[in-house]
């Protein structure tokens, strides 16, 4: 099974770099060619929401941010592992807090809920060497949604 590993150092350009990669993968029709186009976008959204969360809220304690992303295609699924050297988050507990706090047409607080809705499975943990690790899968079969209150 092919595993693609990407490294990102620093936080300033990471979002641009990330989307540059996705555009390259889509152009080449290689790494994610086993997925339908909507699932590729769902995967891209999940990765974006997590990395955006890191950019906006993570505490790197004066260290240069170091983020790695492993992408593992698996049938009509894709598995992804994103590790970083931040201090971490109270996640996934934060998801329940965000869900309970959702107001009609919310302006903020949807990021982790969006990640949760886009993914089939996720797990957040600390590695033996102290890095934070988010692992998730996105599947063509999933039909979940983020239940936003509209009234």
């Amino acid at each position: 099974m092919e595993v693609t590993r990407q490294h990102f150092n620093g936080i300033a350009e990471v979002i641009d770099d990330l989307h540059g990669l996705f555009e390259e993968w889509e152009r080449e029709e290689a790494l994610l060619s086993h997925l339908d186009p909507d699932t590729i976008q769902l995967f891209r959204l999940a990765v974006h929401e997590w990395v955006a969360n890191l950019v906006q809220h993570a505490d790197f304690a004066d260290r240069e941010a170091s983020i790695t992303m492993d992408v593992i295609p698996n049938g009509h699924r894709v598995r992804c592992i994103i590790e970083d050297n931040s201090e971490g988050f109270p996640f996934p507990e934060q998801i329940d807090i965000q869900r309970d706090a959702l107001t009609p047409f919310p302006e903020r607080g949807m990021g982790l809920l969006m990640l949760n809705a886009a993914t089939e499975y996720f797990e957040y943990s600390e590695t033996k060497d102290g890095r934070r690790r988010l692992e998730f899968t996105v599947s063509s079969d999933a039909d979940s949604c983020l239940d936003i209150p509209f009234s």
Partner: protein, 117 residues
């Protein structure tokens, strides 16, 4: 006359309707700019907004939140926010969040302009 306000092209349609061309991304990096640009339009009397997503590769939760903010602002004034020329990445967000229940979608900006005239 077409104006570019903080990275967003804004094009008048009628005295109270504009098209905002979203461009490549509406996300946590420029959502505040979008909100400010839209608020400026509301202050000048605009009530209906056509958001053109033709070139948009990224719409994230913060970007969507800024659209919700605009909707909350104009809907009590009988205003509306509609989506036009929705790209696949934006459509995936619309489906995931069921926002098609709130924002009407049109296949093109022209179709939206006709509907809102």
């Amino acid at each position: 006359m077409q104006a570019t306000t903080m990275n967003f092209q804004i094009e008048p349609v009628t005295h109270d309707t504009v098209v905002i061309r979203i461009g490549k991304a509406l996300d946590f990096r420029n959502a505040a700019d979008f909100k400010a640009a839209a608020q400026e339009q509301v202050r000048s009397g605009i009530r209906s907004f056509i958001l053109d997503f033709n070139d948009t590769g990224i719409l994230d939760s913060t970007g969507l939140g800024s659209i919700f903010s605009l909707y909350r602002q104009v809907s009590p004034m009988s205003g509306q926010v509609v989506f036009a020329s929705v790209s696949r990445p934006v459509q995936v967000v619309v489906q995931l969040t069921r926002t098609y229940k709130v924002f009407r979608q049109f296949p093109s900006v022209e179709a939206a302009r006709e509907a809102l005239r």
